[in-house]
């Protein structure tokens, strides 16, 4: 469960990232966060991951008080979150399998667990056959699947996707979104920041709209409202 209570983030250069946002995301929800560039989508996600701390207000994630968190707790918070990005961020000198395994090695999983879990995660994203391929041998969609497998392999309760389809063609984007929905149906909370109007409109999920850092609307089965 994620809860923002009157959270405000003002960066040191004076830019307002987020302004008085109060919102609650329940376990197992699928939420789109939309808005123009600079509207606060990234700040919203960064506050969840403790990449930034709120200037004022409170942020609670999976039982952690993120707004006043001791440094030593941060890794534990992040283990309860999985993250994927627009640019995939795979390690180029590791195979798909090794990229996913890396996430497990970093939380000190045993080699046996790694051998068991990594193929499961790759299977879940439909990439069992590409385990030995390096990122440059994979298409964009396949790379994002590897990134998803990596994000999911440690069984996080929340999956955060920052513009996951920003670098992909429409057909591949749809496939990734369907995958996210499948992941959500297995019980993982999914939060997707995006600007893809068609997808948001078609999926009929909860939509948070941010504008100049403020939460402009929060619709249960929302659509992408474009002012312009």
């Amino acid at each position: 469960m994620i809860r923002f209570v009157d959270a405000t983030k003002i960066y040191s250069n004076g830019v307002v990232g987020l302004k008085n946002v109060t919102v609650r995301i329940e376990k197992g929800e699928f939420v789109f966060v939309i808005g123009a560039s600079g509207a606060g989508k990234s700040t919203f996600l960064k506050l969840i991951m403790h990449e930034e701390s709120p200037t004022s207000g409170e942020v609670y994630v999976n039982g952690y008080s993120v707004h006043n968190m001791p440094r030593s707790e941060v890794p534990h918070l992040r283990r309860s979150l999985g993250v994927v990005f627009q640019d995939f961020r795979l390690l180029p000198n590791k195979t798909a399998f090794e990229n996913v395994a890396f996430a497990m090695q970093m939380v000190e999983a045993s080699p046996r667990e790694i051998r068991r879990q990594v193929p499961l995660a790759l299977g879940l994203v439909g990439l069992s056959k590409k385990a030995k391929a390096y990122p440059n041998q994979l298409s964009g969609g396949e790379q994002q699947r590897v990134a998803l497998a990596r994000a999911l392999v440690n069984n996080p309760s929340v999956l955060i996707a920052d513009e996951p389809t920003g670098n992909l063609d429409p057909k591949t984007s749809w496939e990734i979104m369907q995958l996210l929905e499948e992941i959500n149906q297995r019980g993982t909370t999914v939060i997707v920041a995006t600007h893809e109007k068609d997808i948001v409109d078609a999926m009929k999920k909860r939509v948070l709209i941010l504008e100049h850092g403020e939460l402009k609307s929060d619709e249960k089965k929302g659509i992408y409202i474009n002012e312009d």
Binding site: R71, S72, H76, S80, L81, F102, A103, V107, P111
Partner: protein, 304 residues
């Protein structure tokens, strides 16, 4: 942290050293030069100190009697010296008679005109005293000055002062040495931290992923610390061999020079007996410099 994790992270640190060849080499060379400088100066200082001790032990106290001194007055001084031998203060002494003194001066001064009218009766008798411990010299000089036969007009000859000046110089030299060492260490630390900074930059993607998947801070830092420590250690090993060969070369050269100058007691010591200590000092110093260097960089550039 589990063993296999440490192994994984150490492997990363070692791998970084390869990937960053140029900066790594520069850092290793700086560490080597810093330690080499440290070692050579330290070894020379040890040599100087031990040789000054030898020189002090060899030093004579020269006691001239008055030309007018009677046999009784001479015997008095001789008895005092004998007593000091019993007490273990004086190790040995030599007496120079008027005749011997005259012979010596005739040998020293070849000019007949200067010696004209001079006979052995004009020459004073003298004692040359060697002490067991140079520190006792003040006491002996004070006591011996009390005898009526001793000529104190020109003081009692002892070259201790000159040696003490030399020791003072050595101390001043030590301060300069410590200062230079500090400067070189800072340079080494700076270069190492820069090398690590490059690695941090080259591995920023990996670090980012490690953060997102919830790796502990210590996991993220360890490879960089390993890299710094290894640079320091490799530098230390190279420096040890440099010091070994350079010192032995210096030792042989200086020893033959000393021998040619007629010093039989002054010698440069051998390297072998101190080799292990030198190595340990180098290793510790190298590891400390490397550790500090990587810590500085990790703190500054690795926002975990």
């Amino acid at each position: 942290m589990k063993i296999r994790t440490i192994r994984l992270l150490v492997k990363e640190g070692t791998y970084n050293i390869y990937k960053n060849k140029l900066m790594t080499t520069a850092s290793i060379i700086t560490v080597s030069i810093t330690l080499f400088f440290l070692g050579i100066v330290l070894l020379l200082a040890i040599n100087l100190t031990s040789n000054i001790e030898v020189m002090k032990r060899d030093l004579d106290i020269t006691v001239f009697l008055k030309v007018s001194a009677s046999d009784f007055e001479r015997e008095e001084v001789a008895a005092y010296i004998e007593r000091k031998i019993q007490e273990g203060v004086v190790s040995q002494y030599r007496f120079e008679s008027r005749e011997q003194a005259f012979e010596n001066i005739k040998n020293d001064i070849k000019n007949e005109a200067l010696l004209k009218g001079l006979t052995s009766a004009n020459m004073p008798e003298s004692f040359y005293i060697k002490l067991t411990d140079p520190a006792l010299s003040d006491q002996v000089i004070t006591e011996i000055s009390q005898f009526s036969g001793v000529n104190t007009e020109y003081g009692i000859g002892y070259n201790k002062d000159r040696l003490e000046r030399l020791e003072g110089l050595l101390k001043a030299f030590n301060y300069i040495f410590i200062f230079l060492l500090a400067v070189l260490s800072v340079v080494a630390i700076f270069l190492i931290s820069n090398t690590i900074r490059l690695t941090v930059y080259a591995r920023r993607r990996e670090i980012e992923i490690m953060k997102y998947v919830g790796a502990l801070d210590s996991f993220i830092r360890l490879p960089f610390i390993v890299e710094g420590l290894l640079i320091g250690l490799i530098g230390a090993v190279i420096s040890y061999f440099m010091t070994h060969y350079a010192y032995e070369w210096l030792q042989h050269m200086l020893n033959s020079i000393l021998l040619n100058l007629g010093y039989t007691t002054l010698r440069m010591m051998e390297f072998a007996p101190v080799a292990f200590q030198v190595f340990v000092i180098y290793a510790i110093f190298g590891v400390v410099i490397g550790g500090i260097g990587s810590m500085v960089s990790v703190r500054k550039h690795l926002n975990v």
